[in-house]
Amino acid sequence: MDDLITLVNSGLGLVATGDRADLRQRLDQTLARLANPDIRVIVVGEFKQGKSKLINALVNAPVCPVDDDIATSVPTVVSFGDPASAAVLVPRDGGGPEQDPAAFERRPVALEDIAGFVSERGNPSNRQGLASAEVRLPRRVLADGLSIIDSPGVGGLESAHALTTLTALPTADAMLLVSDASQEYTEPELRFLKQAQRIVPNVGCVLSKTDLYPQWRAVADLDRAHLAQAGVGTVPLLPVSSDLRLVASQTKDSELNRESGFPQLVAYLRNDVVGKAQALRRNSVAQDLLSTTEHLRLSVTSELQALQHPEGVPVLLAQLEEAKAKADQQRKRSSRWQTLLNDGASDLISDMEHDLRDRLRSIQREAEAAIDDGDPGPVWDQFAEWLEQRVASAVSDTFVWTNERSRWLAEQVAELFALDEVPLPLLEVSSTDGVLAPVEEVPYLDPGRVSAAGKVLIGMRGSYGGVLMFGLLTGIIGMSLINPLSVGAGLLLGRKAYREDKDARLKRRQAEAKSLVRRQMDDVVFQVGKQLKDRLRLVQREIRDHFGDIAEEHHRSLADSVAAAQRSASTFRQERDERVTELKAQLARIDQLHAKAKRLLPEAVPVPQASADVGAGA
């Protein structure tokens, strides 16, 4: 990671001399991304599967509270930090939207007190209203930027809580699903896994508590069979025992440690999770550096070329002007990629709204039929719960679907952009007639273009809070509906009188229930629709800015080259020689950095594979 920072810094050194603020900004962003190396792994599962203990055993410290009864009530982020420290995040009153970091106040707490904040015992059902807790520990396993998130367990992964977890997933690089060895996967677990796999790039399954269950091998086999049957057979299943690992670290017993299964888990985290995330990161740094050097090189070489071969200047200028005009096109709103992006985003938004409405409408029909069939009064509580669950699962379906579609849109735009893009011309310095040889395609730039889609979503991971949809759902669904007590009181008062006007009252109650359901659906469409729309707009903006910047850079580079070539005509001979030497030295430095950046890329990456990586990585 440090070598990357040095490289980017030397790139910044090169840019500093010129007036290319746009390139400097790009490298600054690259540096900022490197400075925050978080690789987020969310640990999820039903309650009492040993999630917190797994994390404790992994970092060998009692950071997440463990209890025989339900323990965790607030999500806890465990990451690297020296010295060890802890803090809780409290939402500020009247703060902005939740993805705004200013909406939270970071309150440092003592490391040993953290249990009092995040445990069900110290903070039942998160009454203190904490957003999350952070623990930083000086541990080797975390040093690569791994940050592990302990989530509160959910009872029944199909509930609204599962949706919270689901909406938080796009912000994560990997997910570990923890299930203990007492039994094979249940239906809700598998369904959750299948859905999550479509959102998060890397999913691993942990089979916990192997010390307690002698039949864990049989359960592991059953689970693998279930995974294969569900079409997610590539997901690794890692059997571990947190208790053994804790004893092993206390007694420094390496044999016990091996038996605990943790070495495999650590290897998985290091190679598959951290390794992949870092490779992705290296690639994106390399791309940034390569394109920066390309841009710098263009103006330097065109000036050099013009100085050395003054007779070719008119041709050079004509071709550069032509390329510049094309690049100008790319910047305009009317360019093909812009149109595709705008149309695609508005299509996506209307499709999303239609999809959401469609799903909710079928729920509404089902609900109304149920209300017509009987008296909604006495069963209203269960009915409301049923409604909540159906709505939650409909919203999560729409969410997953929208996520996939927006990724697809980003890829489409990237493809079109690459197609229309003006390749930066390569100048043939040695050729006597000074002809520009525009290269058909700039091969090593290609993966960078395609991975732009991936990069957009990586960027979003940091910016998108993810938890908002859940708060909203419980907010609108937890409203008071028909009070069942008032119905009960009617029964107690007098059965006879009640029966006589039962029909009229039943009709009224049914009508009331139906209008409540309808209002509820309207609210959901309104609120969730707004959230998803905002999300899509964010995607659209990110894509536009990303490609807009690239187009802008191209235009600047070509304009600079034109200016440089023109400048050369008015230069005196003596100055000319000095300038040539200077430019040659500059070119050498640029080429050196270019070569270094190129070495960062994995050897001989064919384009299709790179795009496949992006598919998995985005």
Partner: protein
Amino acid sequence: MRDSGDVEALLLEAAEVYDDDPALRAELEGYARRLREPLRVAVAGMVKAGKSTLLNAIIGEEIAPTDTGECTRIVTWYRHAATPRITAYPVEGEPRLLPLKRVEGRLVFDLGGQQADDVSRLVVEWPAVNLRSMTLIDTPGIASLSAEVSARSTRFLLPEDAPSEADAVIYLMRHLHGSDLKFLEAFRDTSAASSGTVNALAVLSRADEVGSGRIDSLISASRIADRYRSDPSLKSLVLDVLPMAGLLAQSARTLRQAEYEAFVALAALGKTERERMLLSADRFVTGSTAIGIPPEDAARLLDRFGMFGLRLGAALVRGGTSDPTALAHELARRSGLDHLMALVTRQFSARATTLRVRTALTGLEALVRSNPREAAAGLLAGVERVKANAHEINELRLLSALRSGGVPLPARAAEEAERLVGGSGTGAADRLALPPGVDAEDIRSASLGTLHRWRVLAENPLTDRGALEACHVVLRSCEELVVLAGSVPQGGEPARGRHRADTGQRADTEPAHG
């Protein structure tokens, strides 16, 4: 409820009304037969909650098949008979006998080429003492990966148009899960929608696994059970929640000499050595040769007792339990099985007739409503009459209302009312919160005192009307307590008091109708 004569008469009457329809008559006869049979208790729960294991523990023999994977796929009845026999009832066609095959003691259901889907139920007849007082029903797990298996359970326990086949349910859960609550709610609704009563017990079935099988796991588990007991969402659905180590209960009842010797060998080891060996299941199996137990025996021991059982057994032997019988007793006692059985007796067996009558009434009412006849109007009136007179059903209904918090009584009075109508057991001492074994005189004076207090409350003009109805049920329970305790001098008094209270109530409520 001490007898079901009224209901039987009603069913006979109904059989005459529906004489022309053989299907309905058969249904009615079924209800009548059910009244004479032992109580049907279904054991239900999510997949792998330990249903079959608990069943084996109650029967006292390891006959129900259990496995690591999901195992029970067909609803299986276990009822008492002098000779063992297995009958399969196919969905279509005649019932047939299955061969009695056992592998390592466990029954193997050889369906003879038939698919599990085609068999509606299996009936196992077995000469076990505990089956005399109740028929146990093993059901496939809820939330199974195979939707069909789950649906089979749901169809059986929660039929859409008839009363549930089970009179009561022991619901097993590992932790309170969304699906658990949903099921319990649905069971309350179908089994007792019209009578509004509670007839389920919740059991934290794998209590030994709570604290990673530490030796104090059961203490932890009972703390969790306490929390669940006071959980409002669960309180209105079940009579009680208690922890149990099912595996331990099952194996303790069948402890063998060789197993006892293994415990002794384990106890004889030094502390560190023993602790290292009991660190994990794998370690125990590989390390067992060192104390003279072959690995396959060790694996079987582990299967039967679990890590918690091994740790507890070794600790008990070290603590001085010196013979197999004593060890078996102690293990069984700690497993919580006795407690469960006592609770089953107190909550279900004591109410067996009430629960059965209630099932029959619910069924009869549904049948009459869906098949209206001119002559049937009298039947509905009869159902209403029996229901109104059956104080025990009223007690159950009030209990359920109290638990769901729907009765406007002050908190302390509500608590007392819950106990008085039999919320913690139907014995006189249980109801009056007296220590068990107090003499009749104490019971009499305590119940008279209570009766007096409740009468004052009932006659208080400020008492809410909803609460008043509850008061009358409680008063009637108190009066029965007084009568039971042999109240000779004031024998007639309570009855008259009740009468007055009843008319008073009617006078109170009448104007409200208009």
